[in-house]
């Protein structure tokens, strides 16, 4: 089944779904609609945003006008609604807000797309990021606790180490999961910072005054 077909079957006419910070509705006439979860009540005052380009621009900045390089940061602004008649067009609009997120879930659910362990991601890095792989498991947990969990709505599907897979994620009723199958550029950057911090600390203690 195509991705548009999957979306159509996930959202039959007359139903609604939660997708990250989005509230998706398929009306009885088959029309697709998406808005911010906070706006799911009265939609009469919402601004209609009906192009992929405009939605991508909308998702680029938060309500305070700050740039959102991470599209699954919990800072999607509200006040808008988008509507269209075709699943393929609706999928493009969802991808403008959450790029590749629906496709990733479908591929994961079909077991065609497998999570990559944090170690494999970090060990692959070169250049300025090559030392990121020196972080300990404890530091990796700290990264998830301090960076990933407050800063991103994705549920982590990857393990820190190969051979210790995390439980497979499942969809909650009436929702499409927003999942993370591999540590992103922000996590790699944070791992590098933690590795550098540990290196500097170790060097400072060995170079420190001895008496």
């Amino acid at each position: 089944m195509t991705l548009a077909g999957e979306l159509e079957s996930h959202l039959p006419a007359g139903t609604s779904l939660v997708f990250g910070q989005l509230y998706l509705t398929r009306h009885d006439d088959g029309t697709y609609e998406a808005c911010h979860l906070d706006d799911m009540g009265d939609k009469s005052m919402l601004e209609s945003v009906d192009s992929v380009t405009d939605l991508r621009e909308l998702a680029k900045f938060d309500a305070a006008g700050e740039y959102r390089p991470l599209k699954t940061a919990p800072t999607l602004k509200g006040g808008w609604v988008t509507r269209c008649g075709e699943a393929s067009e609706f999928l493009k609009r969802l991808d403008a807000i959450y790029p590749a997120v629906f496709a990733t879930w479908i591929a994961y659910a079909r077991e065609e797309h497998h999570p990559t362990s944090l170690r494999r991601t970090l060990d692959r890095q070169t250049g300025m990021y090559r030392f990121a792989g020196t972080i300990s498991d404890q530091m990796a947990n700290r990264m998830m606790r301090e960076l990933c969990h407050p800063g991103c709505i994705r549920k982590i599907a990857w393990p820190i180490n190969d051979g210790h897979p995390v439980s497979r994620l499942k969809a909650q009723p009436r929702s499409i999961p927003v999942i993370c199958t591999e540590a992103c550029t922000f996590a790699i950057n944070a791992a590098r910072a933690l590795a550098k911090e540990a290196f500097d600390k170790a060097n400072a203690s060995s170079d420190g005054p001895t008496g």
Binding site: Y67, L70, T185
Partner: protein
């Protein structure tokens, strides 16, 4: 030259930025232009520092044959190491998990770039300005870490010199290695100087850093998209006149160059 590949996907790769909202815009703009022509079954973008990332993109693409065009200026660290590694491809064509993936040359090394640089330089100078009184500087990033980084620029400079365009001189200059763009006033002796950034986007370097090095801003400004007024050419420095162009990668013709790299792949690399 247009292509007809309704069963193939086109994937445009860009650097992107976690700091500057304009970095990925040219790739999206060119993707939209190409998508509207209907030459490919679908057109996608993926980025190193934005989403969708190189690692996230595969589930989105439903076609079994995919052309990848790096929207990068030079062949080097990114196009030869980072992109193939992150996309898990090797060589010109990779067959993997039922997909045939063609890896094309980056846009920056296409022969059409020379003409675009000349066109861009002529566009921004005043009609009354003679090319014979004007030095053209192509500015790039430059890094001592990778010689390939400057080759793309020096190749273009040589091609422009060979084109017969009557510029007083054509020079290369860089942000981080000599000849430094910050020295443009001593590098040149003509009354007029036109500077064209050989960058993909009007982002951190071309819009925020280089204007400071040129002396037309005193400190890095907000991103291009967040400024109400674009810079106004020309800038006067005593008896010298400076023209500063937006990045070459923002030229709408880059959409044609991307498609041309697909044609070039078929003609030269396809077995």
């Amino acid at each position: 030259m247009p292509v007809s590949k309704p069963d193939c996907a086109l994937l445009i790769l860009g650097h992107g930025s976690t700091e500057n909202p304009d970095s990925s815009q040219p790739s999206w703009d060119h993707a939209q232009t190409i998508e509207e022509t209907g030459q490919f079954g679908s057109v996608h973008c993926a980025f190193w520092k934005e989403e969708p990332s190189f690692r996230q993109i595969w589930p989105m693409i439903e076609e079994r044959e995919i052309y990848i065009v790096p929207n990068f200026i030079s062949e080097g660290y990114f196009t030869r190491q980072v992109l193939p590694r992150e996309l898990e491809i090797e060589g010109h064509t990779t067959v993997r998990e039922g997909r045939t993936i063609h890896y094309c040359d980056p846009v920056g090394i296409h022969s059409a770039m020379t003409g675009l640089l000349i066109k861009r330089a002529k566009e921004i100078i005043d009609d009354s300005v003679k090319l014979e009184d004007t030095t053209l500087i192509i500015v790039g990033h430059g890094t001592n870490l990778n010689k390939k980084s400057t080759e793309a620029i020096t190749d273009q400079v040589e091609a422009i010199r060979a084109s017969g365009e009557p510029f007083a001189r054509v020079l290369d200059a860089y942000m981080e290695e000599p000849p430094f763009i910050a020295d443009w006033q001593t590098l040149t002796d003509s009354p007029n100087v036109v500077v064209v950034p050989f960058f993909i986007a009007d982002a951190l370097h071309s819009y925020q850093d280089i204007p400071v090095l040129l002396g037309i801003e005193t400190e890095p400004t907000a991103a291009a998209s967040q400024r109400e007024v674009f810079r106004q050419n020309p800038y006067r420095f005593g008896d010298r006149t400076l023209y500063y162009s937006s990045a070459i990668g923002t030229d709408p013709s880059l959409a044609d160059v991307i498609v041309d790299q697909v044609s070039y792949f078929d003609e030269h690399y396809r077995s």
